[in-house]
């Protein structure tokens, strides 16, 4: 064997091939593992229970950035709805009453998870519109 260079060459080739297997296993191209997308930032909007109450029948509404979130039918004294509200917008409450000679009140109550977060009352004769503080 010592005098068989061809055999030695073959054995050397086999040894190198065997040693190369773990190297190949470690370095072979593999499908790229896609990292999961970072968690989306906490939503800037949330569900809010809106309750509007009027001291006289009228049309009650709530809007944000010009978009109506709640509008009652005419002649309503209350309106209630669960609305999706962005934190980046002011809420504008309004009411119109057919009788304009006496002041009427519009109360707006907002609840999140059953807890009252805003409670405001606005007064107006004929109509009222204001930002819910």
């Amino acid at each position: 064997m010592r005098g068989a260079p061809i055999l030695r060459l073959v054995l050397m080739a086999i040894a190198l091939a065997l040693a190369g297997i773990p190297v190949w296993l470690l370095t072979r191209p593999t499908p790229e593992v896609v990292a999961p997308l970072p968690a989306a930032p906490e939503s800037s909007a949330r569900w809010v229970e809106v309750e509007m109450t009027s001291s006289a029948p009228g049309t009650l509404s709530l809007s944000a950035l010009g978009k109506a979130l709640l509008t009652s039918p005419a002649g309503a004294t209350s309106a209630r709805e669960r609305v999706w509200i962005g934190r980046e917008s002011d809420l504008v409450a309004s009411a119109t009453w057919p009788v304009a000679d006496t002041p009427h009140a519009l109360r707006v109550v907002l609840r999140e998870d059953g807890r009252v977060t805003r409670d405001a009352t606005f007064w107006g004769a004929g109509s009222v519109e204001d930002v819910v503080p």
Partner: protein, 307 residues
């Protein structure tokens, strides 16, 4: 709410006004206060505007002619809170004749950080009084309508002290003006409601709109400090440009009495659009020549640009 000590010298005023018989002469160092005095005083007062619309009140100094006119007045209206750096000297110059009503003494001032106004390394003498912790009062109180309502009552009381016969007129006028101011405040609230809160960022020439920002939830990035005499360092301008780019600010506002050169540079480099001209240090002319007109002009320009 405290009344200026200078307004609590009614006996002297009573004597002066009753002898004169004509309209109560009011000298105003503020265009806003001149408007309030006209609203409350009506025909019973003659208002002399010492500082005129379009003049930079931060840079104004009374002339000998002005001192003469002020000396002849029964009542002198000043903004206070350091806005008129010359006020103490002026009081000594005119002697004991007129009563000084320093409006800023009737409000709870917004305290401003020293750094916000003085990062320019200039002369550091703008007349304002420094408070604890390097803070001092922002003198631009009229950008809060509530403050103007408080000052209206103060002006009414001063006029009643100077002219007791006009009490009914002053009471009625003050009440009517107060109602209009309340309506104005509501109008502003509804206008501002059209701007998403994350867009309520104002880049302005100098730091004059702090009270407005506090009342309506805006963030202010002034190029200059609290006074127009504060010049911005190139470092500050660079940092501001980065801030504006980072926040995606939509518009940049100039002022009616400012040199808009730096603002133009910032506008060019950031890609923000010019938001129009704001009246920050007092009234303008034309429709902005009254307090209500000025506020409507400013709010309309801001809302239109940031919506």
């Amino acid at each position: 709410m405290k009344l200026s000590v200078f307004a609590l010298a009614p006996l002297a005023a009573l004597a002066i006004s009753s002898v004169r018989g004509g309209p109560v002469e009011v000298a105003s160092l503020s265009t806003v206060l001149a408007d309030v005095a006209r609203e409350v005083g009506g025909d019973r007062v003659a208002v002399v505007e010492i500082v005129k619309p379009g003049t930079d009140p931060h840079l104004y100094e009374p002339t000998p002619g002005d001192i003469k006119r002020i000396s002849g007045a029964s009542l002198v209206l000043a903004s206070g809170l350091g806005f008129e750096g010359y006020l103490d000297k002026l009081k000594s110059s005119v002697g004991k004749g007129p009563i000084f009503l320093v409006a800023g003494e009737a409000i709870s001032p917004l305290m401003v950080n020293e750094q916000d106004a003085h990062d320019t390394g200039d002369g550091h003498d703008h007349g304002h009084s420094h408070g604890p912790g390097g803070k001092y009062p922002d003198p631009h109180w009229w950008h809060s309508i509530k403050n103007v309502q408080a000052v209206t009552r103060q002006v009414r009381d001063a006029l009643v002290a100077a002219d007791p016969d006009g009490r009914t007129t002053y009471d009625q006028n003050a009440r009517a003006f107060d109602e209009r101011l309340a309506a104005l405040a509501k109008w502003v609230r509804l206008q501002v409601a059209a701007v998403p809160k994350n867009r309520r960022v104002l880049v302005t020439s100098h730091d004059a709109l702090g009270y407005f920002a506090r009342d309506y939830g805006f963030e202010i990035h002034p190029v200059q400090g609290i006074s127009t005499s504060d010049q911005p360092s190139s470092q500050k301008v660079r940092a501001l440009i980065e801030d504006i780019k980072g926040q995606g600010v939509k518009a940049i506002f100039a002022e009616n009495i400012e040199n808009p050169k730096v603002l133009e540079q910032i506008t060019k480099e950031t890609g923000a659009k010019p938001g129009g001209i704001l009246y920050a240090d007092g009234l303008g002319t034309g429709p902005a020549g009254t307090y209500e007109g000025m506020m409507r002009h400013n709010v309309s320009a801001i809302v239109k640009s940031l919506q």
